[in-house]
């Protein structure tokens, strides 16, 4: 894909987040979309491309009153929106549409107007995993970690420190669900969910949404906001079965998506000013840091525990507080992208000074899929 050929010109989250007992899921999509349109001064009539996940993209188009020439319903879990950004960039470049709207809305807490899992069920998962008592994500996504701990000596304290550091970042954000500082002892003392994972190592369950509007880099200069250029992208998939992940200490989908995006963007790790790694659970940033190549294998636990990713550290990571503290509707990827956009616009409540390159890395399912976006405010 051509570097910096497209840009995000509109970006917004839903008006409210957290508990939305009076909004259906599609309504949250629309609320986010209207906010993103207002953000860039466009109207529905300007949109000719739509993409969404976890909800019928056709319903989105019709509900919004859009007649699209490009539709993308890729729904591979929480990183679907990274894939949508990638696909939209390609579609705009290829002339399939001029202005793409990517929406996320999820009644993750209240399940109003929500029609089941955003990911297709897996034949093998139903036969070979569910009979053993796996159910919700905390019982599956966590399974590889004991192997990682045995192989690399990761401690429960280091795992807990991921949540502690991210809570520090959440403290900057008025919209974050949880903002009060926590300690490693608080995390280890919180309710046991799925050993070794305690409650504070697991993501929130909330309602909310977000939307992005993309167009060509050429047109992007005419909008009120600083354009956020799509510099590089990557995507991949591995398996819907956590038990069949090839390497329990590393995600193949992460490695492929990350390396593809870095190569596409023509950047090295030292160029990255700001990093988002989808954190449904506390181990995700560890796998992400290693699989994207920011640290060596087995080094991420100490890297985070030593403060390298906290406010003032050398590699600001998950500066909104992440799925652990900011919000997590189920498919968190959109909120990671929103924070990447804010950082590139210079408008984040936890703004990294002079940041020019942001890497936003997502996971879908339980290490099932992945998408990586490299954004920049310079070309």
């Amino acid at each position: 894909m051509k570097r910096n050929a497209t840009a995000i010109v509109g970006a917004a989250e839903s008006t409210n987040m957290g508990k939305l007992p009076n909004m259906s899921q599609i309504q949250i999509h629309a609320d986010s979309a209207l906010n993103a349109l207002a953000d860039c001064g466009l109207t529905i009539n300007d949109i000719d491309g739509v993409a969404t996940a976890g909800h019928n993209a056709v319903e989105l188009a019709h509900y919004m009153g859009i007649t699209p020439t490009w539709v993308d319903g890729t729904s591979v879990g929480g990183c679907s929106f990274m894939l949508h950004v990638r696909h939209a960039a390609a579609a705009i470049e290829a002339g399939l549409c001029t202005t793409a709207l990517i929406t996320h809305g999820e009644s993750g807490r209240h399940w109003i107007g929500r029609h089941g899992s955003p990911i297709f069920p897996s034949l093998f998962q139903m036969q070979f995993e569910q009979p053993y008592g796996v159910s919700r994500p905390p019982t599956m996504f966590t399974i590889p970690v004991m192997r990682y701990m045995a192989d690399y000596g990761l401690t429960e304290e280091q795992l807990a420190s991921v949540a502690v550091v991210q809570r520090e970042w959440a403290g900057f954000h008025p919209r974050a669900s949880f903002r009060d500082p926590i300690t490693v002892d608080d995390v280890l003392g919180s309710k046991m969910i799925c050993y070794p994972f305690r409650l504070l190592m697991c993501c929130l369950v909330t309602d909310g949404g977000g939307a992005l509007i993309m167009t060509s880099a050429e047109r992007a200069k005419d909008f009120p906001n600083k354009p956020v250029y799509i510099r590089g992208t990557g995507e991949s998939a591995e398996t819907p079965l956590i038990s069949q992940m090839a390497d329990f200490t590393s995600s193949q989908a992460f490695r492929v998506a990350g390396a593809t995006a870095f190569e596409n963007a023509g950047i090295s790790h030292g160029d990255v000013d700001h990093l988002m790694i989808y954190d449904a659970f506390a181990h995700l940033p560890l796998y992400g840091l290693e699989d994207l190549g920011f640290v060596g294998r087995g080094e991420a636990g100490a890297f985070i525990a030593d403060g390298n990713t906290r406010p003032g550290g050398q590699l600001p990571l998950n500066t909104n507080g992440g799925g652990l503290s900011y919000m997590h509707s189920g498919m968190y990827g959109m909120y990671a992208l929103q924070e990447g956009v804010r950082q590139m616009r210079g408008t984040s409540p936890a703004q990294i000074k002079d940041a020019e390159i942001s890497v936003v890395h997502g996971v879908g399912g339980m290490f099932a899929a992945s998408g990586t976006i490299v954004m920049s405010n310079v070309t």
Binding site: L123, E129, P131, Y132, V134, M146, M192, Y195, S243
Partner: protein
């Protein structure tokens, strides 16, 4: 699903041999005549090389505890806390299992501990391979 809400597998054509095997106390894998790959879950072709020249084989039933969690969440058909594990078989493939016949604690469940297959009858149709500490 059983009366207590536990998920009961529904065999499909390509997995029938696996469930038929479990019913008579055999853990079955498949192997490829073209490249030698031993694989799981069941498919009528080799995921390594794509060959359809594959056979069903009886596994040794021996393996090691590759990774696990101890689930504390309420789960239909189970009494928490209980371990959800992944077992690496001596033949190479990994599969999910509970670890039966031992305390469900980190002290009792040691990574890499040797395990052997046992079978849990769920109903007249389905018997589920399970693993226990090797004798």
């Amino acid at each position: 699903m059983s009366s207590d809400g536990r998920v009961i597998p529904t065999p499909t054509p390509e997995t029938q041999h696996y469930w038929d095997g479990a019913k008579i106390g055999e853990l079955r894998l498949q192997s490829c005549n073209s490249c030698g790959k031993v694989y799981f879950p069941p498919r009528p072709f080799c995921p390594e090389c794509g060959s359809r020249d594959v056979v069903v084989m009886k596994a040794s039933g021996r393996g090691r505890l590759f990774s696990y969690v101890i689930n504390h969440l309420p789960t239909p058909g189970f009494e928490p806390p209980f371990a959800i594990a992944v077992v690496e078989l001596d033949e190479g493939p990994r599969l999910m299992s509970n670890i039966v016949g031992c305390p469900q604690t980190p002290e009792a469940l040691k990574i890499d501990m040797p395990l052997e297959v046992t079978f849990e009858t769920l109903n007249d149709e389905i018997t589920l391979p399970q693993f226990k500490p090797a004798s």
